[in-house]
Amino acid sequence: MICITRFPMGTFQNLEKSVLTFAENVGEKINAEVSAYCIKTEKAVVLIDPYIASPHYGTARRREKIETALSMVGLCSKDVDYVIHTHLHRHCFADPTKFPNAKHLVQEAELEYALSPISFHIPDYKDIPLQKISFSVIKGDCRILPGITLIHLPGHTPGFQSVLCEGKTERFLFAGSFCPLSDSVKKSFIPPGIHTDLEECFCSYEKIQRLNARIIFGFNDMQWEAFQWQTIR
């Protein structure tokens, strides 16, 4: 049994929507709610992107500390076994020292790129002390626990990964910033505004379609009913 809970972390205020939907909704401003997810299995506690900070292109208003959110489900930061970094952009990068017993899972391609991004992406990775952190490096798709698989989806960043949670009948894909809004897939696929390679974006979206899972979008612009919690058997 897998129990998934959404932790509302805060909001990107007055965010230019085309940052999330490439070349669409240009000039439109939104408040985008940012969430972390806690996945609790019989064996482990997993967090996805348990942090929010202001990106260089906007301002984040923090809602609650991750410690507070964990306590609401009877956990503390020492209980966390895995922290999944979907990618290493500074707006969602969680300080590993907060989770002393956790393995920090990141794609090898992401770590390499974060250490040497192109000039246009340097601000996205600024001030992350990558050299001081001991990551558990993943290469490609990887099942980390029964029913929980990391899915490599390059495009937004070279080493972006999402999280597939699957039970006997239900499948959820926590797509994060790769599919930030329901608009990202409403008509045809709209790549995220920030990306490294558009062709990879489209290939990764085809991969998502093959997974046949319900997509949990990275941000909530209040246009749809947000995922709250779910138990998968």
């Binding site: 000039g27 192109i118 246009f120 992406h121 490294t196």
Partner: protein
């Protein structure tokens, strides 16, 4: 070394156009007018046209939300300098977006240079790029006729005559090429939409250079910017109205 004169020709205007279409993720919502540009390069007994302009029919102007006055037609623009389309001996298509590659039928005596990568890409562009390559009049993407012997397909950089070099500048599109003009000891780069505006090249406090929003691979785009730093002294952008402040460049 031969001397060359570079003359900008305005073939249309993108009116009230969102600036962030050129400056990726910067100034979203800011509207301005931007010219569609071709260039005439004269010298060394050559008459060279860089880009043959947009389709001028009203349907295309409506579809792409651009304006072209009758005097902006490429034929009339050339006539200002006493040049007829059949006098053009070399036509360089920097890339195959709609505002750069139409009217090729006018240039019956020209060798037409296109990068092979660009031809390959338009066979199956990404969904978000199809419209940029589309021709509403023809209801299809632009495709040269295979039997048209005027077309010369280029792989990478090549000097076509002394002082004039086609340079591969991928990023905006996979097969974009610029023309490097060496004249009077200065290396001018007609960068086309690799550098839409002066601001794209000069950058800002955050970015050394700013890519165009029209792009397919930003990592490749960054390498192209590094290449331009090495090869050019003066970068002439593809859509900046300040280009028209000078009636000519070079000698």
């Amino acid at each position: 070394m031969a001397n060359y004169t570079i003359i900008p020709l305005q073939t249309g205007i993108l009116s009230h156009f969102d600036k962030s279409s050129f400056t990726y993720l910067i100034d979203a919502g800011c509207k301005d007018d931007f010219p569609l540009l071709s260039f005439l390069v004269l010298g060394n007994r050559k008459i060279i046209l860089v880009d043959s302009g947009p389709p001028f029919d009203p349907e295309s102007q409506k579809h792409y939300s651009f304006f072209s006055a009758p005097q902006m037609h490429i034929r009339i623009q050339l006539k200002r300098f006493g040049i007829k389309p059949e006098d053009i001996d070399t036509l360089i298509l920097t890339h195959l977006h709609w505002d750069h590659c139409y009217n090729t039928e006018l240039f019956e005596n020209a060798k037409i240079y296109v990068q092979r990568r660009e031809i390959e890409y338009i066979q199956n562009p990404l969904p978000i790029h199809i419209d940029s390559y589309s021709a509403p009049y023809y209801k299809t993407v632009f495709k040269p006729i295979p039997s048209d012997s005027r077309f010369q397909y280029i792989d990478g950089d090549i000097e076509i005559v002394s002082g004039l070099t086609l340079v591969s500048l991928p990023g905006h599109t996979p097969g974009l090429q610029g023309l490097l003009v060496k004249t009077g000891g200065i290396r001018y780069l007609l960068a086309s939409d690799c550098v839409d505006l002066v601001e794209n090249w000069k950058g800002n406090e955050t970015y050394p250079h700013i890519p165009s929003t029209g792009h397919n691979d930003l990592v490749e785009y960054e390498k192209t910017f590094r290449k331009i730093e090495q090869i050019a002294d003066v970068v002439i952008p593809g859509h900046d109205k300040c280009v028209l402040d000078n009636s000519y460049y070079g000698n």
